[in-house]
């Protein structure tokens, strides 16, 4: 899992049925000092409480996502699984 900052949200009306009712966020990966590192990407929000500016925990592994969401066929790869309160390094 990696630390990311939520940059914003994405809205889409026409989408694959697997994305129905799911919140999409644009996230920016961060290093251990919470500085931007690498390319931004899109993640589905499973914490349902993350908002723009929040530091979140993102899982980027499809099998783990399907295990958490309980569907073996989901075409989802990135999932926000936690909102970070504090990082001590």
């Amino acid at each position: 899992m990696i630390l990311c900052r939520v940059l914003g949200t994405i809205t889409a009306t026409i989408k694959h049925p697997a994305f129905a009712g799911r919140k999409l966020m644009v996230v920016q990966p961060l290093d251990e000092h919470q500085q931007p590192q690498g390319k931004s990407f899109i993640a589905v929000d499973h914490s349902s409480s993350a908002g723009p500016g929040d530091v979140v925990l993102v899982m980027r592994e499809g099998n783990g996502v399907r295990q958490i969401l309980g569907d073996k066929m989901l075409p989802i790869r990135s999932l926000i699984v936690g909102v970070v309160d504090e990082v001590d390094v």
Binding site: T13, I14, K15
Partner: protein
């Protein structure tokens, strides 16, 4: 998963079984500011997107899972047409 802009279409008369009837589009991956990120790629379309549209895609193994049948050689799939990006 990432944003992309549809550039055009690809037509293949002969393709791997399971991919019959699937639309192929050329897509330019974009970052959150909608600036090009890397090189254009070919993706399977599951939402009837058209040239010029802003879409989001899923890559790797998950791309094939967006299709039916799912055991097909695909590594990028368009899974949504973006209405707006608020960043």
């Amino acid at each position: 998963m990432y944003l992309g802009r549809v550039l055009g279409t690809v037509v293949c008369e002969r393709k791997y079984e399971g991919l019959e009837g699937k639309r192929l589009l050329v897509v330019q991956p974009l970052d959150h500011q909608q600036e090009p990120m890397g090189s254009p790629e070919v993706a399977v379309d599951t939402v009837s997107a058209g040239p010029g549209e802003l879409v989001y895609l899923v890559g790797s193994r998950e791309a094939a899972l967006a299709l039916d049948p799912w055991f097909v050689p695909v590594d990028a799939a368009i899974v949504g047409i973006v209405d707006s990006v608020d960043v």
